[in-house]
Symmetry: C2
Subunit: 159 residues, 2 copies
């Protein structure tokens, strides 16, 4: 069974990636060797123009997929499972996106992210966004580790 990053983020209500947000996009990300993958099927209400996926939703998908990937990468570097302690959570420092082609709302999209750099609490990632076999957008995200349960037990922003 695929081990999705987001299934190990209890109390996550995030619009993009929270399993506890019934109104959210509920993305699921997983490792495929050194690339993290997310496949997601658009809903019509998220169009920008008719039949085309909204650019802000594309940004949301890239953002949340990259934050989940930064988290999973940090655990992996410490050779431990996503259910182990300490708990790490990441927030977005910056997000840069290029829109290359229109993205259909009628086909599943696929995001593929890679780690570019890790330095202390900061992780830099690149992400390709594909639809129907074509790259329709690409992004770079800076993720900041804003929660570490070993440092600050009483301040989990997910609670």
């Amino acid at each position: 069974m695929t081990d999705f990053f987001q299934d190990h983020m209890p109390e996550n209500v995030c619009f993009g990636c929270g399993i506890h947000n019934p109104d959210g996009l509920q993305i699921k990300s997983y490792w495929e060797n050194d690339v993290s993958v997310c496949k997601w099927m658009p809903e019509e209400k998220y169009h920008g123009w008719a039949d085309l996926l909204n650019g802000g939703i594309i940004a949301t998908l890239i953002d949340c997929h990259c934050m989940g990937t930064a988290m999973a990468d940090a655990y992996r570097r410490e050779n431990r499972s996503l259910d182990s302690n300490p708990v790490y959570r990441y927030a977005t420092g910056s997000l840069n996106i290029k829109y290359l082609k229109p993205t259909s709302t009628h086909h599943e999209v696929e995001l593929r992210a890679k780690i570019l750099e890790v330095k202390d609490r900061k992780t830099v990632l690149s992400c390709e966004f594909h639809s129907q076999g074509e790259k329709t957008a690409e992004g770079e995200a800076v993720a900041i580790r804003v929660y570490d349960s070993s440092q600050d037990e009483g301040d989990n922003p997910f609670k």
Copy 2:
């Protein structure tokens, strides 16, 4: 009565700015001299972490506010109203956002965008994002005029 840009975009179903998307954010933008302003009240479902606005929704707001501003600026440069012909519509070429501080979901946010550069079909804009009197994010967007009714009458992507 305030003249909102988005009230002059018939058939706009965009998740961020379409008046014809009942599930969308339905932003409204207007001129305050050379700055375009958008005030928007978050809904709880758009949180990232509890009580904090999702970064992807912040990106969506900045994106759509900037595209509307690029459109309104183009009409204004031609000294004509937003209901006049030819019809121009813009799509996002790129979007760069820095997240500076958490943004509450419990208070109205205010976006303030400026035109940085206009060259042919391309408009570059900056946008500040404020909550509770503080700048919590800032962005830069490149808008591309992808529809001009005087050039291509039969291909309105809003239809």
